[in-house]
């Protein structure tokens, strides 16, 4: 494998993003919605400023009433301005909230789109090595984390930072020295918050882990209840559950203890007392009016909002960045397979030769060692062996899902790496063990590789695959949607739909990973007919457990621990291999 940069297998025109680091990447996504970010900032600043107007105007009202005689004329205008600013505040706050929300949703949409396009562009090798569950987690949970990072994460961070800043901004209105309390509070607050989050985060992680462990063991124990009862292990399982459950309880208590001593709250109360005292002292000196004291105290009360919100706002951002990192990691992973666009592109006959093939997954032990054999065009080959002997890996080397580590594979005498990749793959079909069907109609699933196929062609393919009979039993026949309520297909039925698919694309080489089992003999008859029809007229590699398939194959390859333990026709092997012949003894 040579790690050359080759064009992706699928692309769509998209505005490029900066993928050099998670931060740059997130910023380049955000930059597209710059005007929403501006709306968010204007909303946040306006919201906080207008919130500060409540104590300021209240203070003015107090000063007016404390005049002798009370200046009642200003009361109505003050109240009207106060009410007006608060309605304005509502609108601005909505701007902040919805601006953040819209940014978050758009980024979620764009990120998911970018990830998906990137996934479609990756090689089959990548997709075969990358666990679906992991990709799923990134496409759903991690994308979601990025969304939450903006709303409520960044929304609250900006909102609370602006609230922290307002007392510093407005205190000097009354006396310059009053800025002291909010400034000292802000500094101590960040130190305390940092310390709090640092102590809390590992414990939160412990809580999550111990809950996960309890949950996994619990559901496993209950799923295995029959085995548990059969082995009389109830008490042992209860003890294990109690241990897990107690660990969770202890972690919960540790978390609760830390949350209980939330120092920023104490700092807030201290700031209130200090600020009030400071204002009263200034009042004693005749520098402030009572209304100013009222206003200043009210402004200090604004600090309560950032005190509480920041607890989770910052952790939303850190998990959002972690999610962004994971998504980016998946997108930037190298795609190693050379497409070889200039390689051989011609109709295939279907001859296959393995020459001293050794294969290992990246970073692993070899799963195939020095495998050599020759298959003539049109032959049927049975590959047999126990689990983990390399059967599936062997089959996937033929269409270059993976490339060999050592040795060569030739198709029609040409090294597969010298074939044009598209030409090679379009003439080889793989039917995997677990046949994947899309939530489309049965007809669309059969025609998946040839969307332009006529209905008559689809039905003919289904008949050859022995699938027509069960399809007709559905109320809507070929128009039945997979996954619809009441539509369940057995493994064997799914396999026959996949065989139908192969009839339409008519490959020269068919690779069939067969692990279905027939409950009854009549079904077995149908499977036999379907496979025989599929194998006719093309080279077929079957990984199978079926004695009848093995018995009648042109060539049988017995694998044991990645090596060919025996190879030949049935009659040869019955004579030469004890391991083989004993499976045909009753």
């Amino acid at each position: 494998m040579t790690p050359t940069a080759s064009p992706a297998e699928f692309t769509l025109s998209r505005r490029p993003t900066d993928r050099r680091s998670p931060l740059r990447w997130v910023l380049s996504h955000t930059a597209r919605h710059w005007w929403l970010v501006i709306v968010m900032f204007i909303g946040a600043i306006g919201n906080a400023a207008f919130a500060a107007y409540v104590p300021i105007l209240t203070g003015d009202a107090f000063n007016a009433m404390l005049h002798t005689p009370p200046d009642t004329k200003v009361l109505l205008p003050l109240a009207l301005i106060l009410g007006g600013t608060q309605i304005g505040r509502g609108i601005l706050q909505l701007g902040r909230n919805f601006g953040a929300e819209l940014t978050a949703q758009r980024i979620e949409r764009d990120v998911r789109d970018e990830l998906y396009v990137s996934l479609l562009g990756k090689s089959m090798t990548f997709h075969n090595l990358q666990p679906v569950g992991d990709t799923m987690a990134r496409a759903t949970n991690d994308v979601r984390e990025v969304n939450y990072m903006f709303s409520p994460g960044i929304n609250l961070v900006i909102g609370s930072l602006v609230f922290l800043f307002m007392p510093i901004l407005f205190a000097p209105r009354y006396h310059w020295s009053l800025v002291l309390t909010p400034i000292i509070f802000t500094i101590l607050y960040f130190i305390a918050l940092r310390w709090y989050l640092r102590t809390l985060n590992p414990i939160t992680e412990d809580v999550r882990a111990s809950f996960g462990e309890m949950n996994t063991h619990l559901s496993e124990a209950l799923d295995g209840i029959e085995t548990m009862k059969g082995a009389a292990q109830e008490e042992a399982e209860i003890q294990r559950f109690n241990r897990n459950s107690r660990r969770l309880r202890d972690n919960n208590v540790r978390q609760g203890d830390i949350e209980a001593r939330f120092v920023p709250l104490l700092l807030f109360f201290l700031a209130l007392a200090a600020g009030l005292l400071h204002a009263i002292l200034l009042y004693r000196q005749g520098i402030l009016n009572i209304g100013d004291v009222v206003a200043y105290f009210g402004i200090l009360l604004m600090l309560e909002f950032p005190t509480w919100t920041s607890i989770w706002a910052y952790s939303l951002i850190s998990s959002g960045m972690a999610g962004a990192g994971r998504i980016l990691d998946l997108m930037t992973r190298e795609n190693n397979l050379d497409q070889n666009a200039s390689g051989h592109a011609r109709p295939m006959h279907g001859g296959i030769e393995f020459r001293n093939v050794t294969f290992a997954y990246p970073g692993g032990e070899p799963v195939l060692r020095e495998v050599s054999f020759v298959v003539q065009p049109g032959q049927t080959v049975a590959i047999v062996g126990q689990t983990g002997t390399g059967k599936t890996s062997l089959a996937k080397l033929v269409n270059r899902t993976y490339d060999t580590s050592e040795g060569q594979i030739l198709v029609d005498g040409t090294d597969v790496r010298d074939w044009n990749l598209a030409s090679l793959r379009s003439q080889i079909s793989i039917i995997e063990q677990d046949v994947f069907l899309f939530s489309r109609t049965i007809a669309e699933n059969i025609a998946f590789g040839k969307p332009e196929a006529t209905r008559a062609e689809v039905e003919a393919a289904a008949r050859s695959a022995q699938a027509d009979e069960f399809i007709q039993q559905f109320e809507k026949g070929y128009e039945t949607a997979i996954g619809e309520r009441g539509v369940t297909l057995s493994g064997g039925q799914r396999q026959r739909l996949a065989i139908g698919r192969a009839f339409l694309t008519d490959p020269r080489i068919l690779i069939l990973d067969d692990s279905t089992s027939a409950i009854d003999s009549a079904t077995e008859d149908r499977i036999q007919r379907a496979i025989a029809a599929a194998a006719k007229g093309r080279t077929t590699l079957i990984i199978t457990h079926r004695l009848s398939q093995i018995r009648w194959a042109d060539l049988i390859i017995v694998l044991r621990q990645g090596r060919i333990a025996a190879i030949g026709s049935h009659d040869d092997l019955m004579k030469t291999s004890e391991a083989y012949s004993r499976i045909f003894r009753e």
Binding site: L75, L76, Q105, Y116, N128, S245, R284, V293, D520
Partner: protein, 608 residues
């Protein structure tokens, strides 16, 4: 934030009365009466302290009107400081107590719930999916714990609001009416927002679930799409789902973004009215400056409890539903009841069914007046169509279900009189889909005896080597120390069966009950399974629910079961020759497993 809690919960019809549930919840706190009282006391103190702050500040403002002494100023500042520190300290003590008390109650509830779940027989598990039972034991107990915390928080806030309410009414009742007039509006606004939020959250979740399943499908289908070069088609499906999700979530986001701005605006308007009305009252001398301030500052203090009250009812409801699900799990009567607790001697394995009747549900009889005698050491295969009662027969022997009439005797003793643990230790049970617990292969083989003293590593190894020359061990990457993964997922079906059979081989039970798997297994592993099975059959009385031809052939006696009755019995060759029910079953289920079929397979496909 209480307001947003429980927006996505389903309604749940309850069977228990609220009073009954409340009493039972309280009963679980009876072990911690002292702690509960302390928490209650702390909650009240906290409410008093929280109320004291605005009162002290407003009193301070009044005092300021005549220029205060330095001492006076310090007194006001000191009082506010003291209140703040006390507030923080009381909160600290209360939360520490609460998290411990609730933690212990939940711990205890979980143990009781899990114990109850384990004691139920399998008919209970047929009725409820294990996933639901898991969520009762884990999630429902958690939400019950959260309910308790919410109740203490909300009662502190309500108590605080009541105290403050009393104080302002006594200060100036007319002005307090102005304030109270706004509360219903805030409450109604909060309530209607909650209703809207609930609706959009629900539709948002639904859309999200759809999108996730489409994404799941399109991600899983990428390999197939690439195989057929259908990337564009699959992208179209993805793109549509992604856009739908965006639309739905933007709408949901808009509704949720609306909540706080509207409420803040309403409170702002109320403040303006209070500034105006209070200003006039102060100017006319009806209230002091301090009292006026108290009114303005109190508005915000009523705000939190009113907001939380709008969600409180549904919090309580969902908490009670959770409690009910837990209690229902604990209250369900176990069906399998032992009449005695007799010690079980070393069994020889003679089994007798005497006129046994069994049904899973009313009007669905499975076994009717069923009698059968199995000799010690005999190997009995049971065959029949699906639903004939084969599995039931096996599970009755293992006492996993209760039968309604008749008797089952083992070595002449009624199995209802046994000490169940001792009895089951002499049973070897392998179910159709062998279940492995996460851990190593060796852990699973010695599952029936987790203390390593009764089965040594060497014993396991020597037994493993006797099966197919130990060839199956070489397919396990770490031999006996290979981790099997959750539910054994990292092993193939054939490997799992071998491990389950090994477990039985090490256990050496008097009675062996096998529900044979139907999964497809490679012929080499199949051959090893056959060997292991033969070794077990030699040592135990065996009841085999057979799906494999080789197993039926190996049995001493075959019984053909239909609708809970025995149609035929005999050995394979005899029954086949007589051309009765067995012969027809053979033709339906076993024919394709024979070598004769293999030899004729080519003719079959070419005969088309």
């Amino acid at each position: 934030m209480g307001f947003y809690e429980g927006l996505n919960e389903e309604k749940y019809d309850r069977q228990y009365k609220d009073s009954v549930l409340t009493q039972r919840i309280l009963a679980h706190f009876s072990g911690q009466k002292k702690e509960v009282w302390v928490i209650a006391l702390l909650t009240i103190l906290l409410a008093v302290i929280t109320t004291a702050q605005p009162v002290v500040v407003s009193q301070g403002l009044d005092a300021l009107q005549t220029l205060p002494s330095l001492g006076g100023s310090l007194l006001i500042g000191g009082a506010v400081l003291l209140i703040g520190v006390a507030d923080w300290g009381l909160n600290w003590a209360r939360r520490r107590m609460t998290v411990r008390t609730v933690g212990d109650v939940v711990l205890n509830l979980r143990e009781l719930a899990f114990r109850a779940a384990v004691e139920h027989d399998l008919s209970f598990y047929d009725q409820f999916s294990s996933g639901r039972i898991v969520s009762r034991i884990n999630a429902d107990t958690s939400s019950l714990g959260e309910l308790i915390i919410i109740i203490t928080d909300v009662s502190a806030q309500i108590f605080n609001a009541i105290l403050l309410g009393v104080i302002i009414v006594r200060t100036e009742w007319r002005l307090s009416l102005v304030l109270f007039a706004f509360l219903p509006f805030i409450f109604l606004l909060a309530l209607s927002f909650r209703r809207m939020a609930r609706k959009v959250t629900k539709s948002g979740m639904q859309a999200m679930a759809d999108v996730n399943s489409t994404i799941k499908e399109t991600v899983s289908g990428i390999a197939i799409a690439k195989n057929f070069r259908q990337e564009a088609s699959i992208f179209g499906t993805f793109d549509a789902a992604n856009r739908t999700s965006y639309r739905v979530n933007v709408w949901r986001g808009f509704i949720l973004a609306l909540v706080w701005p509207s409420l803040n605006a309403l409170v702002g308007v109320a403040t303006a009215v209070l500034v105006y009305a209070g200003g006039w009252s102060a100017a006319e001398g009806a209230v002091t400056i301090g009292a006026w301030y108290l009114f303005i500052i109190s508005l915000g203090r009523f705000f939190d409890p009113v907001m939380n009250l709008s969600a409180f009812w549904s919090n309580i409801q969902s908490g009670l539903s959770a409690a009910e699900r837990i209690f229902a799990l604990m209250d369900a009567e176990p069906n399998v009841v032992q009449t005695g607790n007799q010690d079980v001697p070393q069994l020889k394995g003679e089994i007798r069914f005497e006129n046994v009747s069994f049904r899973y549900a009313e009007n669905e009889p499975v076994l009717v007046d069923f009698s059968l005698s199995i000799l010690p050491g005999e190997n009995l295969a049971i065959v029949g169509h699906t639903g004939a009662g084969k599995s039931s027969l096996a599970k009755l022997i293992a006492r996993l279900y209760e039968y309604q009439s008749g008797r089952i005797l083992v070595d002449g003793l009624d199995i209802r009189s046994f000490n169940m643990q001792q009895y089951r230790r002499q049973l070897g049970l392998v179910s159709q889909v062998p279940f492995l617990f996460s851990g190593t292969v060796a852990d699973n083989i010695r599952y029936a005896c987790p203390q390593r003293d009764c089965i040594s590593e060497a014993d396991i190894l020597s037994m493993a080597r006797r099966i197919g020359d130990g060839e199956w061990l070489e397919t396990l990457p770490d031999g006996l120390n290979t981790r099997v993964g959750e539910r054994g997922a990292m092993l193939s079906m054939g490997q799992r069966q071998l491990v389950a059979l090994m477990r039985v081989l090490m256990q050496k039970p008097a009675i062996f009950v096998l529900d044979e798997a139907t999964a497809s297994i490679d012929p080499f592993t199949e051959w090893q399974i056959q060997q292991a099975l033969t070794m077990i059959l030699q040592e135990s009385t065996s009841i085999l629910i057979a799906h494999r031809l080789s197993t039926v052939k190996a049995a001493d006696r075959i019984i053909v079961l239909e609708r809970g009755g025995i149609l035929e019995e005999g050995d394979h060759n005899g029954l086949l020759a007589s051309g009765g029910h067995y012969a027809s079953l053979y033709n339906t289920y076993f024919r394709h497993q024979s070598l004769a079929y293999v030899e004729k397979a080519r003719e079959l496909v070419e005969g088309d």
